[in-house]
Symmetry: C2
Subunit: 473 residues, 2 copies
């Protein structure tokens, strides 16, 4: 049963399991105690810290273990902001950071701080110089900047080394969230703080990493605690820490070969899906990306139904579509990229994924998508392709205007209704879609881009929002 959601949580690596079992027997005692069980636990903890620090590329005394990647991010950002309080209250993050970073930024704003969201291009990548610009244009002293090493939803690698240089030039620390990439290799560049999460690389749940380079100002904001240099309160989860460090070593040792193999499988998905399934947009940077992750969106498809049908076909994937989120808004990553969010599928292959499973997925996908589209009454690819495409008239005739009322209808219905009527107005004519579904804001412009129509913008309506689309062909 192929599990293709490694970016959410990877199955436990065999080395992690083995190390965890051994450490359950050897490492249950308090490592701060002086008796033999405590000394043994301390030795295990020290060895795990050394191994993890080596993989991160920092000194052991710069690294602490936290209970999760999220807590590493929360505590890392809060500690760095508190440590730099005198430098300023401004925080810079990219618009496509993991929600733990954005939630920490929201907390900072609620506490009176200010935040810049650095935009990304359509591939989800921060532009070179974007952090330098954000630093220049900051409304006050900048305490901290954050940039992920690689995006968790679309796999795009970020220019962290460049951003670190831009930050260093401004004497501002850069925190890198390396959750998605640390299993594949160390983070390049002169970062100041780094966070990661063991269950993303095949380690156990319950372990995050927080590295703070010597010389970076840091002040804990939680109550005092002697453990983990005072930076991560609470009894150490030693068996899990040991397993995390051991599996990080193991995945790194297998890393280059397995990355190459998975990159080939992902390449196959990237190339074949648009051939096999009409009206699909593959998103994310085609070159500068994680080896194991690919994301695409399918027009006229309900993401939740698609996930459900893939699950019935025994494929486990995730989605950034609004209907799969508890807030019914599309993923902030897809929004920041400005790409289609409906029918969104993220495939992230765990290590060891069989080639045959990827091929089975490629076999199953077209039928699954077609089935969902059919049930939704989506325009057939044939119909869509058969859109009459007369010669554009030099002067458009008096605007025939059509209004589609999609109020109360959820993604992907407004886009489907738009697609169905666009042929009913002449070229140069306008269709206005009234919709109150948040996904429409992203998906109507994305549909226009994919179908070669002109998106003319939105304006508030009595209820919902009116989206204007001019027929171009």
């Amino acid at each position: 049963m192929p599990y293709f959601d490694a970016a959410s949580s990877a199955p436990l690596h065999p080395v992690a399991r083995q190390a965890l079992l051994a450490a359950l027997d050897e490492g249950w005692a308090d490592p701060s105690r002086l008796y033999r069980e405590g000394r043994r636990a301390r030795l295990l903890l020290d060895a795990a810290r050394e191994a993890a620090a080596e993989a991160v590329g920092c000194r052991p005394d710069e690294l602490v273990f936290t209970p999760s990647g999220t807590r590493a991010v929360h505590d890392g950002i809060a500690g760095a902001l508190a440590g730099r309080r005198r430098a300023g209250h401004h925080l810079i993050v990219s618009a496509v950071e993991h929600s733990s970073v954005l939630h920490a930024a929201a907390t900072h704003e609620a506490d009176g701080g200010t935040v810049t969201d650095v935009p990304v291009d359509r591939t989800g990548r921060v532009a070179p110089g974007a952090y330098a610009a954000a630093l220049r244009e900051a409304p006050g002293g900048v305490a901290l900047a954050c940039l992920q090493s690689a995006n968790h939803e679309v796999g795009t690698l970020q220019p962290v080394a460049e951003a670190a240089e831009e930050c260093a030039a401004a004497d501002v620390p850069l925190l890198v969230d390396a959750a998605q990439s640390l299993g594949w290799g160390p983070t390049e560049g002169n970062w100041s703080l780094l966070t990661a999460s063991a269950h993303k690389w095949g380690g156990p749940a319950g372990v995050g990493l927080l590295a703070v380079r010597k010389g970076v100002r840091f002040r804990r904001v939680q109550p005092a605690d002697e453990r983990e240099s005072g930076r991560s309160p609470g009894f150490e989860n030693l068996p899990a820490i040991v397993a995390a460090a051991a599996s990080l070593r193991a995945v790194r040792a297998e890393g280059a070969a397995e990355a190459e193999r998975l990159r080939g499988l992902v390449e196959r998905i990237r190339a074949r899906v648009p051939e096999l399934v009409p009206d699909v947009e593959v998103v994310g940077d085609p070159e500068r990306r994680l080896p194991h992750l690919v994301t695409f969106s399918c027009l006229y498809v309900d993401g939740e139904a698609l996930l459900h049908e893939l699950d019935r076909a025994e494929f486990s994937v995730s989605s950034g579509s609004s209907c799969t989120s508890s807030t019914l808004t599309p993923s902030h990553v897809l929004r920041a990229m400005g790409v289609l969010s409906e029918g969104n599928v993220r495939v992230s292959l765990p290590r060891g994924t069989a080639e045959a499973d990827v091929d089975r997925f490629l076999e199953a996908l077209p039928g699954v998508v077609a089935g969902v589209r059919e049930r939704l009454g989506a325009p057939k690819p044939a119909e869509a392709a058969a859109d009459p495409a007369p010669e554009p008239e030099p002067e458009p005739a008096p605007e025939p205007e059509l209004v589609v009322d999609s109020l109360g209808k959820r993604c992907p219905i407004p886009v489907i209704e738009l697609a169905k009527v666009i042929g009913e107005v002449p070229v140069g004519g306008v269709v206005t879609v009234l919709a109150d579904d948040e996904a429409a804001r992203l998906d109507i412009p994305a549909w226009c881009e994919m179908r070669g129509q002109t998106y003319e913008g939105e304006r508030p309506a009595d209820r919902g929002v009116a989206y204007r689309v001019r027929r171009r062909a």
Copy 2:
């Protein structure tokens, strides 16, 4: 090799180990995902929550899992204080709470809040009515009160049901830190919040519990997160959570019989140690106490040396003596109780402790203590007993005064030097000990109480502190 420090961390219960192994295979996926691996993880999480809630005595939706008992305490106190910000900024805690509670209280003070430390008697117990008094005398609106169910260093049970009533009468929530007792039974009384830690009952590290009763105001202070009702951010450590819940059920099922058995062994230690070892004070409430924990202090003994020798004899215990703490101050619990801190030993028996191991401990202890005393040049029990004890004179002769300079000397040396010279002044005479070791403040009065001498108080000296002791016999 007998491990007698269950109160620090209990060895993993076999049921915990078994459940953990099963959940490593079944519960590594993200329980918020809709595919089969996620649904399976969700089922495990829900079942664990129900089991744990039943053991705690609350509704499942009142209980969240945290990464540790410490984080449960930190987040529980911060959330309750934030939720009751309008009610006031005062926090009430007992003086003998776990350091996680006291550190959270210190953070509250640093943030501008105020704190009352409720005192305890010589057994470490809060007096009935003490919380009512603290509530009455609070300098402003009280946001929260905290009381442990049982003390972690001396085993004394606290009157939580009474304190909860006193708090309820004042409409103030009571947070109970049940870390030491939850494995033995539910916490009685009408508490509002409760915290606990799985590795104290034989569950794995990495799991704490935080229960917040419906209707109790609570506002998270960390960044937002969808997991655990927003009260404990970060990916759930599901295998450990499953193991924690399963082992809590298991230890409860064995609870009454095992408690009775361990109580008998502890009773044996309580009775025999003072018979076998001269100049020992057994501390903590003799009746209202945890079944598995006993603490005593040995005059003229260096706690670190004692632990070291016991470790060599293969007994693992802990100590509240100053020399075993990184801050070189005696345990705040012993200080609040006003009992001897030197040569302090806490014995906390894990479930399944063999009677023979306890007997071996009782056999080994006298020789170990005698050895440490001899190396320190402590007064021999015979000498101490042979103190000349003439009839008290009705009018003391003009005060012969002796000054002992113990500056720069660490516990237990100042007390040993005092004991050595007390016979050199006549009855009614005074010995003044100059000391700068923090433990002297606690141990010189405690020595006086144990040896029937009169402690006359302290005053600042040019260096250190001058402690006055009047010879009574």
